[in-house]
Amino acid sequence: MGLTSDLNVSVQSLLASTTAMDVTTTNMANMNTPGYARRRVILEESTPSGSGQSSTGVDVKTIQSLRDSVLDLSINANNSQQSLNTTISTALSAVQVVFSDTASGSIGSTMDSFFSSLQQLSTSPTSGSLRSNVLTAAGNVASAFQSTAAVVTQAQQQADQSVVQSTSQANSLLQQIAATNAQITTAQNTGQSSNSDQDQLSSLLSQLSSIMDYQTVNSSDGLTLTTANGAPLVVGGKAYALTNQVNASGYNDVYAGGTDVTATIQGGNLGGYLQTRDQTLSTLSSQLDQFAFQFATAVNNVQTAGSDANGNTGAALFNPPDTTSGTATGAASSIAVALTDGSQIAAAATGAATGDSSNLTNMLNLQNQTIINGNTPDDAFSNLTFDIGNTISQATSSATATGNILTQLTNQQGSIEGVSLDEESSNLVLYQRSYEAAAKIISTVDTLMGNILDMGAVNPGY
């Protein structure tokens, strides 16, 4: 029985070596495939087929994927954060330009020019050309508010378009995840290897993480994916698509299965666009409206308390605001100069001679009065500059910090999951040798068997 069983053992060994070399080949081929975790073949000594059998062969127990799923989760979570912050910083970068101190025609610089023109008028209150200059400067302030508001609105609309795009990208990924999930479950139920499906799932989850944050739960029918507040995204083989619904402000909210999840998406570029659109820019937009409204109201109040070059009571310099409604909404985008002639500027106090400039002094004093929500006009603008600059700066440094963590984690992941060409080459040599050894045994057994058969030959001379 010895030689036959040796032959069997050798055949088993040949097969095991072939499988091991297959795994090595797969590893080498996929060394750059996203989501791929290196595999290794787990060999075990086979159970002897009968009692007293002295030689036992080798079995391929399993092909193991060296995947650290906890590490993968952590990488995806960080990836979401980085993507969020990078998106915020990119989406706002166009907006911050109009708040820069070097921006010509910014709200701050045009307000400075407006007050300068009033100062100039105070040196010669009856000068027609200086009065026209004031109106021009006021017009520039109004244009600065309008163009700044337009930049903010445009950035909001761009973010909104990106929300729709990201939603559809997320949906496509969710469907693929659900399909892969179903394949994994089927493979597991039929006892087949799900390694390649797992690799694909890992790659899909990583892609999804740059679009949005999510939570995962492993259950009997595979992976369950939900949003942060538990709205289902993928359950087993079924994907629940995200939908967009236009809200009262005209922007697209994100719904998961009928639930509004707009505010709960706080990662990935989708989260970044939502945060930019609904928080940073929305706040900025209403601050600009308040600013324009209160500035115009303050100037108008001084203007209507004085008397113009024709001896008439001053008319409002800016319109709107509609002081009766008292609402600031839309003020920044609609502010305009209401006066048509420089003579209508109320430089004089009511009842004073037309060459009087004491009401002009009141208007000049506005520059140092806290007329914008407890701030001077200049401070109000400089606060806006700080806020937008700080938001971007924080997002950028968070992205950098998360980037550093990601590098660490990715290195860690690589040290576990990454394919090393040197290692695979050395394995290849190893399995080649073991294949050669098995083949050698087979040829040895063959020779031995030939010898035995020769012993019983009738005509050894053949």
């Binding site: 820069s100 100062q119 600059g389």
Partner: protein, 297 residues
């Protein structure tokens, strides 16, 4: 411990960082500014907004001072002519009062004084850049007009108001002196005094000529006293301009510390970044040259 066999990620990261640092330094060197956008240094940018506004104010205060000085100097030189003319009237009065002249001579002196009075009217109605210098804040017409009922009388139709011009934060000066405080002060009215001298000279009454001469002299010293306002204000403006130019330098210096790039530091950073980038590139090129496969047959 197993190391990450895929170092390209690390390498790319390092190259990115070095390149970013190099870009950053290059931008600082080319723009001369460390802070180009609010996100570069939000606090410095916010402070810059305030400083820009302060700087604009200082510029405007300086411009205000300049144009005000022009106006005040014009008024001052007008008053110099007024004083010279009045001094002539005073000496004419003294001449007429000594009693040695005949009526013909007195009449011709009266004519000269009358001319001085006309000259005075024109001087008191001097305007600069469309504004009457001595009409208070009223600018509806010439401040001094001949009385329609009595052509020998000159009436003041301006007001006694002063305008203020800001020449610093919370600092302002009066930009005009109304005629009522110069030519037509109560008890020292230039036109009344000159008219009384004309009348006295025409009447030939030495005592009356003496009295009228004294009134002209009083009016002269009243104008003299009023003129001090212009000198004082111009002096104040000049010294304030010196302060403003110093302030401008201070603001510029502060702005520099806020946003300007330190060229030496930026240049050093640039060199460092470049060295780091070169080293990373060289390492990346070297490290991927060999693998075990090269040694296997």
């Amino acid at each position: 411990m197993r190391v990450n066999p895929n170092y390209s990620n690390d390498m790319v990261n390092l190259m990115d960082q070095a390149q970013q640092a190099e870009d950053n330094a290059a931008q600082q060197l080319s723009t001369g500014r460390r802070v180009n956008l609010p996100s570069d240094d939000p606090a410095a940018e916010a402070a810059m907004i305030g400083e820009n506004s302060r700087s604009a104010s200082v510029d405007q205060y300086t411009a205000n001072s300049d144009s005000l000085k022009d106006v005040l100097n014009t008024a001052n030189s007008t008053l110099n002519s007024v004083v010279t003319a009045l001094q002539r009237a005073v000496s004419l009065g003294t001449e007429g009062a000594n009693g040695t002249m005949n009526q013909t001579d007195l009449d011709s002196i009266a004519q000269e004084v009358s001319n001085i009075k006309s000259q005075m009217l024109s001087l008191a109605n001097t305007s600069y850049a469309g504004q009457y210098l001595f009409g208070g804040t009223s600018n509806t017409g010439a401040p001094y007009v001949t009385d329609t009922a009595d052509p020998t009388q000159v009436d003041y139709v301006g007001n006694s108001q002063q305008n203020k011009v800001q020449i610093g934060t919370g600092l302002s000066v009066a930009s005009n002196l109304p005629g009522s405080s110069i030519f037509s002060q109560s008890g020292a009215n230039v036109f009344d005094a000159l008219q009384s001298l004309v009348s006295a000279l025409q009447s030939g009454d030495s005592a009356a000529i003496g009295t009228a001469g004294t009134s002209v002299s009083n009016a002269l010293s009243a104008v003299d006293t009023a003129q001090v306002f212009y000198g004082t204000t111009v002096n104040e403006l000049t010294s304030n301009e010196t302060y403003l130019s110093q302030e401008k330098v201070n603001i510029a210096t502060y702005q520099n510390t806020l946003v300007s790039a330190d060229t030496a530091t930026a240049a050093t950073q640039m060199t460092q970044a470049e060295t780091a980038l070169n080293a990373t590139l060289a390492a990346a090129a070297k490290v991927s040259q060999v693998s075990l496969l090269d040694y296997l047959k």
